[in-house]
Amino acid sequence: MHAIAYDEIHDEFFVPVPFPQAILAFRGGASGEEAPVRFIQGPRTGLAYPIRLAVDPVHNEIFVPQGDKVLVFPRDGQGDVAPLRVLGGPDTRLDSSALAVDPLHNLLIVIGELPGSDVETDHILIFNRTDQGNTKPKAIIGGPRSGLRNLSGPFTVYPPKGWIVLGDRGEGGLASDVAYVGVWSVEDNGDVPPRWRIGGPHGVFQMPRGVTLNPKHQEIIVSDKRLNAVLTFHFPEFF
């Protein structure tokens, strides 16, 4: 599984499973062989290889990146349901590998390479949450000053402050000495460096992947693939 999202309003968690092309919703406390409470799957869904997702528990939607488009489903969708809307088209500049939703600012944040760009480094694209069709992003963060290179892991946002926090794998490969976790803002645009970088470059990370937050304890939690570990950082400045 390459993504997971916990919905604290409804106490459920969601995972995409690419091989059977489905989105599974489990009870928050599910354990062992417990079946999902719902799953989205079928010809109307348009799901091809869902490996990532984001859940907006406020507006009750699930966002699934599918390369050059983003599919949006109802959070409580069951079975063979069509997307509520699809964001896609050449103007979107989507080559989406992961995404996150800020329900407070009503924004959709997507990361991936930028089709048509001269550089192969990753970018952060910011859309309105309800954008659909061939819509241009409101903002694109990336470029040499941004330092963004390989972002493919799942990431998260902190809506109260509008922070985007994600792991950069640096040069790629099996491990990178210049990997780090960086923080941008939903108000950023263009070639902007991060506001903070933690755990690197030349720090503890070798291949950061997923990021999540524990606001109550002011912690940033990161999975690292090469360390095969989950690391928790106390970083009150972020909160």
Binding site: Q21, T45, A48, R197, G199, K216, V222, S223, N228
Partner: protein
């Protein structure tokens, strides 16, 4: 006599009101800076002396442009819409912020907690009967570990040290889950699963952080390996594309497969383990049951390093074709290729299969062993089984120490059955044909008996359950 307009007078007064306090501030700062006895450096510190109260040490004049010259209120044309102005303001704020932004770096920030299993987690096992060694892959710390076949960890010991170990970035070992030992040379073939997309082969004497003796670039997501020594062919299952690829046994680097078994009629559904019966010319594949249809003639997934390939699996899915099917074992002719349906399928609730991983075959007795991961068991089927067939034997129970077994190997030289349990840092050995809840003949442990195995393997995403204060880590 000059005439000053009322507006000019107002403007002058406004500016004076702003500049006056600034002047006072500068004078006060200068007084502080230059106060003290003549000849004393007010900023000097005696070694070991306290720094004293806070002092102003420099003044930077405020810019006169644009802040003080600009009107205090922004001019807004009456015709401008609110959203347009808001957008302009946001852009201006962002541009100013971008120009001024510097990053606050905390590269040395250490985690307050780290969840990590410090011990090896065995995922696959194979025996070299010529040299009396057992080889295990460690999918937690990314190692290949070699022990004496007769090693057994005493109950009171923390672990058994391997006699030889391979690991490190140069080895290109990562999440390796399949294993084959060349009976003639003792060379170790290790299959990488989620990453690397490379089969790595090591000379049996290799140790430490060394490059592989040979590499073969494989499709993404290979799991099981079997070798037909007579035909000099190597078979690999490939999960993501529901395929079996066959290479020359000595294939290297960018070489294409010589055969491909893939297609919507094959019933390959997230294939994992593979066992071949060269005597009866059959191939057995274990499937988890996750299914989708491939787009005929669809695109393939090739890493940038590769050129054109023949017999490479199609990656492109038919959108919305996914289904959940029961786990199964599918049986094919050994030289099956293309969109060939299976000769037989073993599938159904009586089989007890639950994430069937690696397979091992007893050609002499015509029995098939299945490492049944989530069933915590080793299932034995007749090789002629079909349909909803029950296993003829089940090795399972607390005495067996089998927990999340992913690896199984039949050592026909010594009549022993090996099991690699990913769930508890153990490899266990049983007599060939063992059944029920029996103690193993020997146990090799990589960690203490009471230490839990965390089961972390490629922790890609992570989520926080705020209600239970728990971290969710899918693998």
């Amino acid at each position: 006599m000059a005439i000053h307009s009322k507006s000019a007078t107002r403007e002058h007064r406004k500016r004076s009101q702003l500049l006056a306090p600034l002047g006072v501030l500068i004078c006060a700062a200068a007084a502080v800076l230059f106060s003290g006895s003549a000849g004393e450096d007010p900023l000097a510190l005696s070694p070991g002396a306290a720094a004293g109260p806070a002092r102003l040490v420099s003044v930077t004049p405020l810019p006169l442009e644009p802040a003080l010259d600009a009107p205090l209120c922004e001019w807004m044309p009456a015709s401008a819409s609110g959203s347009l102005v808001a957008s302009w303001r946001q852009e201006r704020r962002a541009a100013m912020a971008a120009a001024e932004r510097t990053t606050a770096d905390f590269p040395d920030l250490q985690p307050v907690r780290m969840i990590r299993d410090p011990y090896a987690a065995y995922s696959a096992v194979a025996v070299d009967p010529v040299r009396d060694e057992v080889v295990l892959t460690d999918e937690n710390l990314f190692q290949i570990l070699v022990y004496d076949r007769m090693d057994s960890t005493p109950p009171t010991a923390r672990m058994t040290e391997p006699k030889r170990m391979l690991g490190g970035l140069q080895t290109k070992i990562e999440f390796q889950c399949g294993l084959y030992i060349d009976p003639a040379s003792g060379d170790i073939y290790a299959v990488n699963n989620d990453t690397v997309d490379t089969l790595v082969i090591f000379d049996r004497n290799a140790r430490g952080n060394v490059p592989p003796t040979r590499e073969l670039y494989t499709p993404h997501g290979t799991f099981g390996i079997a070798v037909d020594e007579e035909a000099r062919e190597m078979f690999l299952t490939e999960q993501h594309d529901n395929a079996v690829v066959v290479f020359r046994k000595s294939a290297v680097k960018d070489e294409s497969p010589i055969r491909l078994l893939q297609g919507n009629r094959t019933r390959l559904q997230d294939p994992h383990g593979i066992a071949i019966d060269t005597k009866n010319r059959l191939m057995f594949i274990s499937n988890y049951g996750n299914s989708h249809r491939k787009k005929p003639g669809g695109s393939v997934y090739l890493p940038e390093r590769s050129g054109e390939k023949e017999n490479w699996p199609v990656r492109e899915h038919e959108p919305g074709s996914g289904t959940f099917s029961p786990p199964s074992i599918t049986v094919y002719p050994l030289d099956a290729s293309g969109n060939t349906p299976p000769l037989r399928v073993i599938e159904g609730p009586r089989t007890q299969m639950n994430w069937p991983a690696h397979l091992a075959i007893d050609v002499e007795r015509q029995e098939l062993y299945v490492a049944n991961d989530m069933g915590h068991s080793i299932l034995t089927f007749s090789t002629s089984a079909s349909g909803n067939a029950a296993p003829i034997r089940v090795l399972q129970g607390p005495k067996t120490l089998i927990k999340n077994p992913t690896g199984v190997f039949l050592d026909t030289e010594n009549d022993e059955l090996w099991v690699a349990s990913f769930g508890n840092h153990t490899a266990t050995v049983f007599p060939r044909g063992a059944s029920g809840d029996v103690e193993p003949l020997r146990v090799i442990r990589s960690g203490p008996l009471d230490e839990p195995a965390l089961g972390i393997g490629n922790p890609h995403p992570v989520a926080y359950d705020s209600k239970r204060e728990e971290i969710l880590v899918p693998n």
